[in-house]
């Protein structure tokens, strides 16, 4: 009977393999009922304090777990379409818990769904108001001048814009995860957001706030078989508690996607996607021209090799364009989300980040 308890592919005989499958089938029935009747696992459980909230913006401080931390605090900027608990999914799947354990002082800029009065928010509001406001609050709270910014996806774009427009400080380092720079490399620019057919003005003028579902559907379109294949894999793995737990956390995070302020969305489509102005030049934020060469702080860009949302070709020009003397690009196996929160992230990305950041946070 021992063979029936071995992992997949370990059973020595066809009979043993069959026994394993029968056992799994029974477990699927039992656990399938549990799945339907139980709430999803808790996410984002690392202790934190809300330092500031203003409309769509929330700033949190995480409770340090080391008695001695690095001098420079770390401010994480989440992508504007999603909640920041992807950094803190579960106990052994939390980038934040890992970094706290490695001695970092961590603050997170998280987003709430923008309200009707915030539909006029523009990139300027994020780059010249929200980020500087939070940096000021982090400086006051931590009692230090310098801050490291870490942006994920669109949070990386906003952080990069801030760094380019504030070359005189107080930034110490800039870390980006899967940050799109060459928007012409995104399949959206040729497909659903094709300039010839996509009437972004009509859409924004009509809805004001871009619904989260619309953005998620556009993302799903890139992998139309992903959802049904995911359901089949869930059924196949219902016997496996760890798989089910992880699946539920990820699905919940996907469902918790956020709508976007219409004006901000209009700017992203017209300026970043159609004009590709972040890379090719011409992007102005509140009258100030953005030049990536003005990013001079130490820069680390971590890219996911199998990212379909922000393909490596879309992300790679950042390091080349930045004016930093100390800059590094790391390409790791993984997808857009699994790079940060997948089971392999703790072995690949997190130690690489710690290795780079530790030496620059003193």
């Amino acid at each position: 009977m021992a063979s029936t308890h071995t992992g997949r592919g370990k059973s020595p005989t066809f009979t043993g393999r069959l026994c394993t499958e029968v056992e799994r089938m029974i477990k699927r029935r039992v656990k399938g009922l549990e799945y339907l009747g139980s709430p999803g696992p808790a996410v984002g459980t690392t202790p934190r304090t809300l330092l500031h909230r203003r409309g769509t913006l929330s700033l949190y401080r995480y409770q340090a777990t080391c008695s001695d931390v690095y001098r420079v605090p770390l401010l994480l900027v989440m992508a504007t379409t999603n909640k920041a608990y992807i950094f803190d999914l579960a106990e052994r799947q939390s980038l934040i818990a890992y970094l706290l354990g490695r001695g970092y002082d961590i603050y997170v800029m998280d987003w709430n769904a923008p309200t009707r009065v915030e539909q006029q928010l523009r990139i300027e509001d994020y780059v010249l108001d929200f980020i500087p406001d939070c940096i000021g609050r982090v400086q006051a709270d931590a009692g230090v001048e310098e801050v490291t910014l870490l942006g994920y996806c669109m949070g990386g774009v906003l952080s990069t814009l801030y760094a380019a427009l504030h070359a005189d400080g107080p930034l110490k380092n800039l870390v980006c995860f899967t940050t799109p720079v060459d928007w012409s490399q995104m399949s959206w620019s040729r497909g659903i957001a094709n300039q010839r057919y996509f009437e972004v003005d009509r859409l924004v003028d009509r809805v004001g706030i871009i619904p989260a579902g619309m953005i998620m559907n556009a993302i799903d379109l890139q992998r139309p078989a992903g959802r049904i294949a995911g359901q089949l894999r869930l059924w196949d793995n219902l016997w496996n508690d760890a798989y089910v737990r992880n699946h539920r956390m990820m699905m919940r995070w996907g469902r918790d996607s956020l709508p976007l302020a219409g004006e901000y969305y209009r700017q992203i489509i017209k300026e970043l996607m159609w004009k590709n102005s972040l890379l090719e030049g011409g992007l102005c934020i509140a009258g100030q021209a953005v030049d990536l060469a003005k990013v001079r702080v130490p820069l680390l860009h971590i890219i996911a090799e199998h990212d379909t949302l922000v393909p490596p070709a879309c992300a790679q020009p950042l390091v080349a364009a930045a004016g930093s003397a100390d800059k590094q690009e790391i390409i790791l196996p993984g997808g857009h989300v699994s790079l940060v929160a997948g089971p392999a992230a703790k072995k690949r990305m997190w130690p690489a980040l710690d290795e780079w950041l530790g030496q620059r946070s003193m």
Partner: protein
């Protein structure tokens, strides 16, 4: 030679089919025809949504009930008042720095030789986005 395992074959086939469908869809999505069709669909669905919202608003008005937009606007107003109150409320006394951790940490000396070996590549050609975990 590996043992014949129909279950494993089924799993591999699923991954293969998923990858094929996704890569086919990616190619189709980049065509002008798809862009045109998708935007036509969006235009029609937006128009229908608009008509539906107006009709519902008219019904709710007759029933003297607030529409979702009005409830949202009310929620926004309450949120704005809460935000203003937060700004007016004096900030809590900053906790003593004695209770906070010290800021003298340095990376362990062997950090540079850490066991992590990230794949560091630059200017790598784009991998076709087939069957990749997102």
């Amino acid at each position: 030679m590996g043992m014949f395992d129909p279950f494993q074959i089924w799993r591999e086939t699923l991954t293969l089919i998923e990858g094929e469908i996704n890569s086919l869809a990616s190619r189709k999505m980049e065509t002008a025809e798809f862009a045109q069709a998708a935007n036509q669909f969006n235009k029609v669905s937006l128009g229908m949504q608009h008509v539906l919202e107006r009709s519902l608003a008219s019904v709710l008005r007759r029933l003297e009930l607030p529409s979702r937009t009005e409830v949202d606007a009310l929620a926004c107003a309450v949120q704005r008042i809460e935000d203003k109150l937060d700004q007016l409320t004096p900030a809590p006394v900053k906790p003593s720095h004695a209770l906070r951790p010290t800021r003298t940490r340095r990376p362990p000396p062997n950090v540079a030789k850490a066991a992590t070996k990230p794949v560091k590549r630059t200017r790598k050609p784009v991998t076709p986005p087939a069957a990749q975990e997102e």
